[in-house]
Amino acid sequence: MEEAKLAERARDGDTAAYERLVRMHQAVAFRAAYLVTGDAPEAEDATQEAFVKAYRALDRFRPGASFRPWLLAIVTNEARNRRRSAGRRANLTLQVAAEGQAVSAAVSPEAALVAAERREELLSILGELSEGDRLVISCRYFLGLSEQETATTLGCARGTVKSRLSRAIARLRQMMRKEEDA
C-alpha cells in the first residue's frame, strides 16, 4: 500500500497502518538519530519517541507531502533535545567499513591505504565541525536526502541548505588545509 494511504489510515487511528509506515522509515530515522546522538540506545529511544510524537501530530501532516522529511524533522529534533538534556556534546564516533574485496582487487594496496587514511582524516575533521554544519552534511551525504528533503528536515528554505552546505564544505576545506600544513 502506498505511503499516502497508510498515512491517511493512520490519521484515522489505524495503528496497524502506522506500524507499516514506521517499518518503511525506521532505518533512516534511526540513522538520523544516531548521527545526532552518537549513541545507539539513545538513538533507539529518540526514534521510538519521535514516531509516537509524529503519530500524535499526523493531523498537521499535509496530505500529499513526502512523509520522510517531515518525520526526520521530528526525529532530529527529538535526538538533539535528548542529547542536550543529557548535557552531552555531539561526538561523531562513526565506524567506517573496510575496503570491500571487489575494490581491493581493482586498486593497489597502497592506493587503498591512502584512501582509507583520507576517509579517517575526513571523519575526524567532521567531528570538529559545529552541530549545524555536521547536520546539513549528514542529511545530504550520509542519509542521501535531496536538497528539498534536507530543507524540510532542518526546517529551513532550500536556498538556506545550499548556502549552509557551501559554508560547511568551505570550513571543512580550510580545516583540512590547516591539518595538512601542520
Binding site: 502506522y18 506500524e19 517499518r23 530515522a29 544516531y34 540506545p41 521510538q48 514516531f51 576517509r119 575526513l122
Partner: protein, 223 residues
Amino acid sequence: MPDDRRFSEEEIERGLRDLGARVEYPPTPDVARAVRLRLDEERNRQTRRAWHWPPFLAPRWTAVAAALVLISVIALSPTVRTTLSDFLAPGDQTSSEAGGPVARPESGGSDRFKQEAGEGEGAVGCPAPSIEAEPARGAAGARFRLSGHDFSSGCDGATPASGVRIYFLQAGRTWKLTTLDAGPGLTFDTRLRVPAGADPGRATVRATMRSGERVERRFVVLR
C-alpha cells in the same frame, strides 16, 4: 605545499559521498512493533479511564447528586433556610454577621467535595515506575544493588513488565548491564557491577521498559 586539487570542493564532496556510503551504523532496532504497542496501550488506557466508573457513579454525576441533596436539605430544613436567607439578605448587618459563619462551612463542604472528586479521578492514573541504586556510588567494577518498583506492562497494575533493559550511561558512553523481568509484585531486585571502563564522576543508571517508558537514577563513580 598542499595539493589544491585534493582540497577542491568537488573533491571534498566526493570524499563525503564515499564516506557516507561506507559508514557502518548499529543494526536498526525494530521500533515499529514497540511504537504500535505504545499507541495501542495509550488508547486502551484512555478507554479504560473513560469507563472506569459505572455511569451512575462517575464523578460528574456524583457531584450533581450531591448538589441536589444539598439543595433539598436547604429547601426542607427551616433552620438552614432562615440562616441562609439572613446571610444573603442585603443591608441587614446583624443577620449577615450571625449568618456568615454558619454559611461558610457549607461552601467549604462543597469545595471539599470537588477536591475529593478530583482526587478520585486522579487515582485512576498509572503508578510511575521507580528505581533505586544501593549504594548509589561505587568504583568501576564494584557491585551495587538495583531495585525497581511499579514496573507494570500495562496500566492495570497487575501484569509485571518483562524485558526491562538496564543501562549504565556516562559521558556519551553506554553499557548494557542486563535485561530482566519484574516479579509478581511489579518489583525487581538485582545485583549489578559498575562497568570496568567507567571513569570517576557522574553517571546514570537507566531502566527502559518495552513500551519505551524509562526511569533514571544518578550514580557516582568513585576513584
